[in-house]
Symmetry: C2
Subunit: 204 residues, 2 copies
C-alpha cells in the first residue's frame, strides 16, 4: 500500500500514528506529496482525489481510499477490527461522533491557517478567523470536560485529539491551550511517551 503523505499534515499524521499502533506501518510506503489551496495538480485530482487532499491510501490493486478516517477504519479492519474504533454498541457511535469533532476541529484550524498565512493580507477577514477558531476551541473544551475520553485505552478519538493539539503547537504556538486546558496538557504529555506520537510531531 502507498500513502500520499506530508509531515506537516495533521490528517496524514493521524493515519501514521494509527498504522504504527496497529502494527501495519511496514506495509505502507509513504509517498511525499504537497497539497496547497491555489496550487493545482491535475494528475492527483483525476487519479487520486478530486478534492486534492492528503492523505490517500492507494491499494495494491490501484484503488484508492480517502479520507484519513476511512483509511484508519480500513487499517483497523486489516488488523482484526475493533482496535481503534469499537466494533459495536453505543460506544461505537460516541467514538465516531467524537472523532468527527476532532476532524472538524482540524478543518477549522486549517481554515484559520489558510486565512492567516496563505491569503493575501488585504483579503483577510477577522470575523472568519474568530469563528473558525471558536469551533476548534469549543472542541478542546468538550474534551477537557470529558476526561474519561482521555484515560481509556488508545482509540481514534485520542489520536484525533493529539493531532489537533500537535497542530495547535505547530501553527498557533501562542494560543495558550495548555493553560486553558490542563487535562489536555497532561494527556498530551502522557501520549508523547508513545513512539508513534513522538516521532510524528510535525517538523518545526
Amino acid at each position: 500500500m502507498k500513502l500520499t503523505f506530508s509531515p506537516s499534515s495533521p490528517f496524514a499524521r493521524k493515519v501514521r500514528i494509527a498504522a504504527i499502533e496497529l502494527g501495519l506501518i511496514d506495509k505502507i510506503e509513504f509517498v511525499p506529496t504537497t497539497a496547497t489551496p491555489g496550487t493545482y495538480n491535475e494528475d492527483y485530482s483525476q487519479k487520486i482525489n478530486p478534492l486534492r487532499k492528503l492523505p490517500a491510501l492507494i491499494l495494491d490493486d490501484g484503488s484508492t481510499i480517502v479520507d484519513s478516517y476511512v483509511i484508519v477504519e480500513y487499517l483497523d479492519e486489516l488488523a482484526g477490527g475493533g482496535k481503534l474504533i469499537p466494533a459495536s454498541g453505543a460506544k461505537k457511535w460516541q467514538v465516531k461522533t467524537d472523532h468527527c469533532i476532532t476532524q472538524g476541529m482540524l478543518d477549522a484550524m486549517l481554515l484559520c491557517r489558510y486565512e492567516k498565512m496563505l491569503r493575501p493580507e488585504q483579503f483577510r477577514w477577522q470575523t472568519w478567523i474568530d469563528d473558525q477558531w471558536d469551533r476548534a476551541w469549543h472542541g478542546f473544551q468538550r474534551f477537557e470536560a470529558h476526561p474519561d475520553v482521555l484515560t481509556r485505552p488508545l482509540d481514534i478519538v485520542q489520536i484525533g485529539i493529539i493531532c489537533a493539539l500537535g497542530y495547535a503547537d505547530f501553527r498557533f504556538a501562542d494560543c495558550g491551550w495548555r493553560k486553558a486546558f490542563p487535562k489536555l496538557a497532561a494527556f498530551n504529555e502522557k501520549m508523547m511517551q508513545r513512539d508513534s506520537v513522538k516521532i510524528s510531531v510535525p517538523p518545526i
Copy 2:
C-alpha cells in the same frame, strides 16, 4: 430522536433522504436550527456540537450523533444494516471513499458560497473561490466518468451526489453542470422521481 435541521443545508438533506428511504422518517422530529459562520450559539456549541454545524441527531437518552455521515450510518444500522452502505467487502471501502468525496464537494461549495455571499466584498479572494470550485467540479467529473455508480441500487454515494447537484442548483444556478455532465443530468432526472429527493429540494 430529534434532528437539528435547516431546509437549505445539503448535509441535513442527506439525512432526510436517507431517513425516508430507510422508513425511519416518522421516528425523527425535525428541529429548525440555523448555523451561519460569524453567528455564535453558545448553547449549541456546548450541548450539541462544538463545530456549530448541522445536522446533529439527538437520541432519546440525550446523547448526540454527528456528522451527517455518521447519522446515516446509525440510521442504516437501525434499519437492519447494509441498506445504504455495504456492510463488508471491497464495495464498502469504495462507497465510503466515494461518499467522502461527495462530502468534500459540498464542503468546497459551501466555502465558495461563504466567500461569495457572507464575506464582505472587499475581503473576497478569487483564487480561493476558483480553487474550491475546482475541487467540487473534479468531483462531478469523477462520477460522470464512472456511471456505474449512478445506475446501481440506491446508496449513500448517490444520495451524496444528489445533494451536491441540488446544492449547485440552489446556490450556483448558472454553473452549467447539466451541460458539462450529461450523465449526471440524466441521473438527477431519474432520482427526482423519488419522493425523498423531490420533497427535499432546497427552497428557492
